[in-house]
Symmetry: D2
Subunit: 345 residues, 4 copies
C-alpha cells in the first residue's frame, strides 16, 4: 500500500501517517518525490485496509498494491483447478455445456427439455427449484418438489444437475439433491450463505453480482474456499450498465482477467446477459472464443408458456445449433497451434 501525501502536507502530517502505519504493526517507508511525498506500507501480510489512512490530514489518496485474495489467487496456486461434478470435469480444457429451463415447472417439462439438451450435447442439466424473483407476486419455484424432479432427470439421463440455493435454511435440502449448487447474482455478497457454502460437500457455481468488480467476486469465492470448500466455479452473466439493448452487458474481458488472477474455472451464462433470445447464440460464440470453460444456457421447449425468463430461453433446435457451432469452434482451437482456449496469451 502506498499513502500519497498532498503537495501541501507538512512534516507533522507525514510523521502522523508514519505513526499511524506503525501503530498497526506495519513498517512505513517515506519516498520523497519531485513535488510530494509518498509513504510505502511494508511488511504487511495480505492486504491493508485503505480506509485506515485515507482520512488523515495531508493524505491525498491511498493506493492498494497487494491483492486482497489468497486462496483463490493464481499466485497461491499456479495451475488450473479442475472440478469434477458427477462424471463431468469442468476446467480441464474441454468446453462444458450446461443447459435447461430457468425454472423446473413440472416433471414432464423437465424431462422433455433434458432429453433435448442431452442429445444436443449438454453434459449438466440446470433448472431452478427456488427462484429469486423481483416481485413477491411472481412464481417462486416448486421447492422440494422441483428438486425431486431434478433428481429424476439425473437418474433418467445420467446428467449431473445444478440448481440455485437461496438461503441457509434450505441449503441442506438443496445439497442433498443437487450435484452442484448455484449461488445467484443477488446473493454474491450474502456472506452468511457464502460461509455455509464453504461447508458444503458439493461444488458451488458463484455467479458474479450485477455491479461487482472482479476483486469483490474473487473475495466472495475466497469466503467459500476459506470455509473449506475448494470446489468453486465462477460464472460471468453480464453486469449492469447504461446499455439498454440487452438486459445486462456481458463482460467478456472478465474471462482472461479471472484466468490471470485465479486458478478457478469460469463459465459464461449468455442467457441472463442477453435477456433476449436473439442475442444468446452470438454471445455464446463469443463466450467460447474468449476462452470460457463452459456455458450455462436457458432452454425451453415452449418458451412462450414458460413461467419465468421465457424471452431469453432458446428453443431446443437453437440450442442444438449452438452446440454444433461450439463444437466446431472447439475443434478449430484444438487444431490450431497458434491458439488454445484456456491459455489466453
Amino acid at each position: 500500500m502506498l499513502v500519497v501525501m498532498s503537495k501541501f502536507a507538512n512534516q507533522e502530517d507525514i510523521d502522523a501517517v508514519v505513526a499511524a502505519i506503525e501503530a498497526r504493526g506495519y513498517r512505513a517507508r517515506p519516498i520523497p518525490g519531485g513535488e510530494r511525498v509518498a509513504i510505502g506500507v511494508l511488511h504487511n501480510e495480505g492486504a491493508v485496509d485503505a480506509s485506515l489512512f485515507l482520512g488523515l490530514p495531508g493524505v491525498n489518496e491511498v493506493v492498494p498494491i497487494t491483492r486482497p485474495y489468497k486462496l483463490v489467487s493464481r499466485e497461491t496456486q499456479p495451475s488450473d483447478t479442475v472440478i469434477r461434478v458427477g462424471s463431468v470435469n469442468i476446467g480441464n480444457g474441454h468446453l462444458t455445456l450446461i443447459a435447461g429451463p430457468c425454472a423446473v415447472e413440472s416433471e414432464e417439462q423437465a424431462l422433455t427439455i433434458a432429453e433435448h439438451v442431452r442429445k444436443s450435447g449438454a453434459r449438466i442439466f440446470r433448472g431452478g427449484a427456488f427462484k429469486p424473483r423481483t416481485s413477491p407476486y411472481s412464481f417462486q419455484g416448486l421447492g422440494e418438489k422441483g428438486l425431486k424432479i431434478l433428481a429424476k432427470v439425473r437418474e433418467r439421463f445420467d446428467m449431473p444437475v445444478v440448481t440455485e440455493v437461496m438461503d441457509v435454511e434450505t441449503f441442506d435440502m438443496v445439497e442433498h439433491y443437487a450435484d452442484m449448487i448455484q449461488i445467484g447474482t443477488r446473493n454474491m455478497q450474502n456472506f452468511s450463505l457464502l460461509k455455509r457454502a464453504g461447508k458444503a460437500r458439493k461444488p458451488v457455481v458463484l455467479k458474479r453480482g450485477l455491479a461487482s468488480t472482479i476483486e469483490e467476486w474473487l473475495m466472495a469465492a475466497e469466503y467459500i474456499m476459506e470455509g473449506g470448500n475448494a470446489r468453486v466455479i465462477l460464472c460471468e452473466r453480464g453486469v449492469r450498465t447504461f446499455v439498454n439493448h440487452s438486459r445486462n452487458t456481458l463482460d467478456v474481458s472478465a474471462v482472461p482477467v479471472v484466468q490471470k488472477e485465479s486458478h478457478l474455472p469460469i463459465l459464461i451464462d449468455p442467457s441472463h446477459a442477453a435477456g433476449r433470445r436473439d442475442q444468446v447464440i452470438p454471445l455464446s460464440r463469443a463466450a467460447v472464443a474468449v476462452g470460457a470453460h463452459g456455458l450455462m444456457v436457458e432452454v425451453h421447449h415452449k418458451p412462450e408458456e414458460a413461467m419465468s425468463d421465457g424471452a431469453q430461453s432458446l428453443y431446443p433446435r437453437q440450442f442444438d445449433q449452438l452446440c454444433r457451432q461450439a463444437d466446431a469452434m472447439y475443434e478449430t482451437f484444438r487444431n490450431t497451434d497458434a491458439c488454445s482456449i484456456s491459455t489466453t496469451v
Copy 2:
C-alpha cells in the same frame, strides 16, 4: 402493457401474439399505427411479465405500462407514512438524524460516540454488530456482544438503536435487541431475508442495492409489506457508476422519485455514498435540501483507529457542524412559504 410489432410482422404473427395474450387471461387490443401495429394488453390486474411476449415472432419490443408494485405505491396510499421508532417519528416532516460508528467495537467506544452525537442532535443511534465485509479476513463484528452494547446505549441515552441483520439465523436475536432493523445494500434482493423481515415486529430500514433501479428497490419493500410488516423506511446510499472520485455516486433524484411513487419515508446515507470524510458534509446538506426525511451518518471519535470505514467517519465536531447546518436549513424551509422539504413540487 404494449406489444410493439416489427414493420415486417404479418397478420399471422399478430394473431399469434393476440392468442398468446388471451391464453394468459388478458384482453388484447391491436392498435394500427402508421408503419406498424402495437397490441395493448388490457384487463390485467397488476403488472404483466414482459418476457412472456418478447420472444414471439414479429415482436419488436414490449413496453410495461402499469407499475408492478402495489402496497408500497402512492396510488394505493396517497398520504405519507410516518413510522415510529421508540419515541422518534420518521417521515413526519422533521429531519431525523441517525448517527454512530460503522461497527460497535467496545462499550467504551459506543458510549463515547453516543454521548457526542446525542448532544449534537442525533435522535437514533446506529452501529453494526454483524458486519458484511468484502473480505473474510476483515473484522466481522462483535455479534451478540455488540447488540448488548447497543442496548446499553439505548438505556443510557434514551435513544432508539438501529443495527444491521445479515441472515435469518440471527434475525430473532437482532430483533430482540434493536429498535429498528437494517437490511443492507448487499442483501436488498436477499428474498429469504426480506420475507423474514415481513414477519418482524420492528421497523425495517431497507438500503438501496448498489445497482438497483427504484422499481427493484420498491419491489423489495413490497416483499416486506406483503409479508405483513408495513413499517419500511427506504435509504439511498449511492449507486455504482463509472465515477471514481467518490466510493459511490449519491443519486439525489431518488428522493423526489420515491416520494412521487411511494408513501414510504426515505433517508440518505451520505457516508457510504462518499466513502471519504471530506465529502460527507456537502452531501449531507444536499440530502437535506433535496427533501430526504432523515440522514444516517457514520461518526467516530478516533476514526484513524476504527475497525472499519474509518475514512468516511466524521469526527464528533464535524457531526456537530453538520447538525447546525441541517437545523438552519430546516428552519429556512419551514419559514419559507415558497418551499417545503417534504412536498417536492
Copy 3:
C-alpha cells in the same frame, strides 16, 4: 408513441393531452386500460419527440415506439451494405483486418509495422496523424507529415489507409490523403463534423461514443447518410462502465443488435476496449465469433517506445497469431452449415 396517464388523471388532463397531440398534426387515440388511460399517437412519420408531452399534467410517462432513424435502418434497406475501400470490401461476409500503430511516429516506424501486418493478413492500414489526447501536453500527432507517410504506406504495400479526422478545418486534407476517414469516440456527436462527413467522397468509420446508446450511434450515422454519404461503417470500441479491470467494457451484444437494426457493416476495435495488451487477443476472438465484419487492431513493433497507447499495442508476432486464429475461426464458420458469422440467428 404512447402517452401513459397517471391513475389520478382526470378527463380534463386527458383532453389537454389529446389537444396537444393534435396541435402537432398527429392523431390521438385514447386506449382505456384497467387502471389508467394511455393515448396512442398515430399517423406520425418518423419519431415524435417524447419531451413534447412528458411534462403535461397527469402524464406519467411517454413511450417511444417508432425508431427515430430512417436511412440507416434495416427497415429501409433490408440487405447488407458492402463498402469498398480501395480494393477491399467491408461487410460482404469476409473478415476485414485493419491494423497499424496508434499514431504515425515516423516513416520508418510506419513502414516497418505495415510490412509486418500486411504479411500477417491485414488488408487496411491504420495510423493516426491527428491525435485526440486527453492532455494538451501529450503528443498530438505529426499532422500532414503523418498523412504523407500514410500515403507512402499505401503506395509501398498496396494497402488502403484509414486515419482519424478531428475537425472541419483539416477535413479536406485528411480526405485528400486517406482512403477511409475515421471519426473518433469523442467526436461521435460532433454534429458539425458529422455534417461535413456527409459531404465526403470517402467512406467513414464512425466509432461509438463512450456512453452512447445504439440509438444515438445510429442517429450519428444518420447525420452522415442524410448529408449524402452512404458509405458509413460502425465501430464498437468499448463503453464506459464501473468495471475497472479493462479500460472500457467491450459490448459484444452491440454486433447482433446493430445487424438487426441496420444494414451498415460493423467492426470491433479490441485495443481500445481492453487498454491492455494481454486482453486484446481474447477480445479479438470474441469479436470474430460474435459476427463483426472486421477488426481494427493496434500493433507496434516497439510498443514500449510508442508515443501513445503502447500498453495496448500488440507485438507483430502477436498480431500474426491473432490472424491465424481469426482465419481458422472464419474457415470453421464457413464450413459449418449450422452457423454463419454475418447471419446472426
Copy 4:
C-alpha cells in the same frame, strides 16, 4: 508514478523496467515489499503516461500519483478564481442564477422569458442559437438570427447572455454576440474546439461530458487555459449511469471534489440532469446546498410548445419559487457560522 511488479517478476524484469524508466529521463527507485517489488518513478515534471510501462514483462499495474493537470489545479493557484461576465461575478461566494429557454425560438419568446427570469432573480440569460441535436431531423436552432435575439435580450434587460458554440467555423460569430460561451457535453473532448476556446476573449462554460471523469474534465479545461484563456467555468449536468428514472444522474459530489482539486468556479445544470420538470427544483436545492457557485436552469413560458427540451423546462412561476428557495438557503448559509457554501469543510 509507481510500477507494481508481479510476485513472479524476476530480477531481469525489474532491470528492464528500471531501464525503460531511465530511458525516458526519469529516475527509478525500486521499493522492495513483502511479496513483490514496486518501482517509484521520480523527478518527473507533471504526469507520466502510465501506458509506457503497463505492457512490460512482469508488470502488474501502474499507479499514477501526480495529477496530470497544472494550470487548473488548486496546487498551482490556491485561491478561488472569480470570473466577471458583463457586470456579474461568478465564483465570489454569491449564487449566480442563469436561466432561459433551451433554444431561442423567436424574439417574442426570448424577451418574454427573459422578463420573467430577470424579475425572479436570474442574472445571466441562457438560450441556444446553435443546437446539438441527436437527430438530423430535429430543430437545429436559429443560428445568427438567434444570436441577434440574444443581443436584444442583453440590451433590453441588461443581462449578459450565454449561448453554446458547436464548431470552430461559427466561433467568431458566437464570440461576437455572446458574453459567455458554452461548450456542450458532447464537445467536452472536441479538442480543436477547446483550442479555439483558448484563444477566445470571452469566458467559457465547459460542461462535463456524459461519461467523463473529473480528471478528464479538468484536462479539457487545461486545454483552454493552456491556450491563453484563464476564464473557464465548469458545469456539472449529470452523468450517464444505469439509473433510468432521470435522464442523467446528477453527481453532486463533483462540486466538493472540483473545489478541492481546482480553483475554477463550478455551476450545476439541474435541467439536463433531471430531464423532467418535477425533479428540477429538488435538484436545484441540492445544488445550492452542496456548494455550487451557480445554477443554469431551463425556463419556458409555454413548455408544451417548446421546440426542444420542453419536458424539463420550468414554468416561470416555478423558477420564481426556485429563486426564493435558493435565496433563503443562501441567507441561511451566510448567517450560520457553522457553515459556508464555498468552503466545503
